[in-house]
């Protein structure tokens, strides 16, 4: 069963990527500093002093994002809910040991990712391992190359796009999916992703490359020009 976990803003002013255009420098995507609001540290400080309302405000602020994260990792609603709940309860219990050397949100993502990974490992002991080396270069070359046309993301209604993203990420192998989710959806840095997963930076990069190429391949079915499903 699929669970939709994404909403894509419908109207975004971005140049259509499917169109040929002059080469320009790549735009590195946003890092976690853009996620958290400026008053986060005030809420954290108040929660550390025992202000329950401040902690509840943090929960209200991040609950949907943390549920998306745990659902994207486990792809199982029950596990995702348990992992999210335990992540918030553990973060509250260990709040005093959070020394604010990173953003609270990043710290929370680490806890939630570990809770979700623990459940994924338990449910799929033979299907999920980050210890296995990834395949060689041979499989990397894209098999289907078709023009996506201008702005494929604007051809779909919000709910449709929502379902497409959930469907393609659901089909990605778990060891690629967790790296992609942490790095490209939750926007952790490569180093942070490596720490959360306990694998090397080159291993993160290698899995991320494969995850992105596999997702491009899967999205091709939906985005190719002339196709609407």
């Amino acid at each position: 069963m699929l669970y939709a976990t994404f909403i894509v803003p419908e109207a975004r002013m971005r140049p259509p990527i499917g169109l040929r255009k002059p080469l320009s420098a790549p735009n590195p995507h946003r890092l976690p500093s853009t996620i958290a609001r400026d008053d986060e540290h005030l809420l954290v400080a108040a929660a550390k002093r025992g202000d329950a309302h401040a902690f509840e405000e943090l929960v209200n602020r991040y609950e949907a994002k943390i549920f998306r994260l745990t659902l994207n990792i486990t792809r199982n609603r029950e596990d995702a809910e348990d992992a999210m709940q335990d992540a918030f309860l553990k973060s509250y219990a260990h709040l005093k040991s959070f020394h604010e050397d990173s953003r609270f949100y990043t710290w929370l993502v680490r806890i939630a990712a570990n809770e979700a990974l623990m459940r994924l490992r338990k449910r799929r002991p033979n299907q999920f391992s980050l210890d296995e080396p990834v395949e060689g270069d041979e499989d990397l070359m894209p098999r289907e190359l078709e023009d996506w046309g201008p702005s494929p993301e604007q051809r779909f209604a919000q709910t449709e796009m929502h379902e497409i993203l959930s469907e393609v990420i659901d089909k990605l192998e778990p060891d690629f999916r967790v790296v992609f989710v942490l790095r490209d959806v939750e926007e952790l840095s490569t180093e942070e992703t490596s720490k959360v997963l306990g694998i090397s930076v080159p291993a993160v990069k290698s899995r991320l490359l494969r995850a992105r190429l596999k997702l491009r391949q899967k999205l091709n079915r939906y985005f190719r020009q002339g196709d609407t499903n």
Partner: protein, 79 residues
């Protein structure tokens, strides 16, 4: 750089992690290889559609169970 080299470096290119010499070499290839240009554009868009997606609102039943559990924990701590 050939097509295989571009595909191997595509992630680093999108993330802006390539050194200048490598970036220029890759872009020289893209200038005359429409296929690689298409893969680069589509891979970048793939990252963007996921990155720009917003989480859906937490389902009501999930939210109330979370907040109930939280209140129990807060209660425990204040007792």
């Amino acid at each position: 750089m050939n097509c295989k080299g571009v595909i191997r470096e595509i992630s680093n290119y999108i993330d802006g992690d390539l050194d200048l010499a490598m970036k220029q070499e890759l872009e020289r290839h893209l200038e005359h290889c429409e296929d690689c240009q298409m893969v680069v554009d589509q891979t970048r868009l793939t990252v963007e559609v996921f990155c720009d997606s917003q989480p859906v609102e937490l389902p009501g039943d999930v939210k109330s169970r979370l907040h109930d559990a939280l209140r129990r924990k807060l209660q425990e701590k204040s007792n």
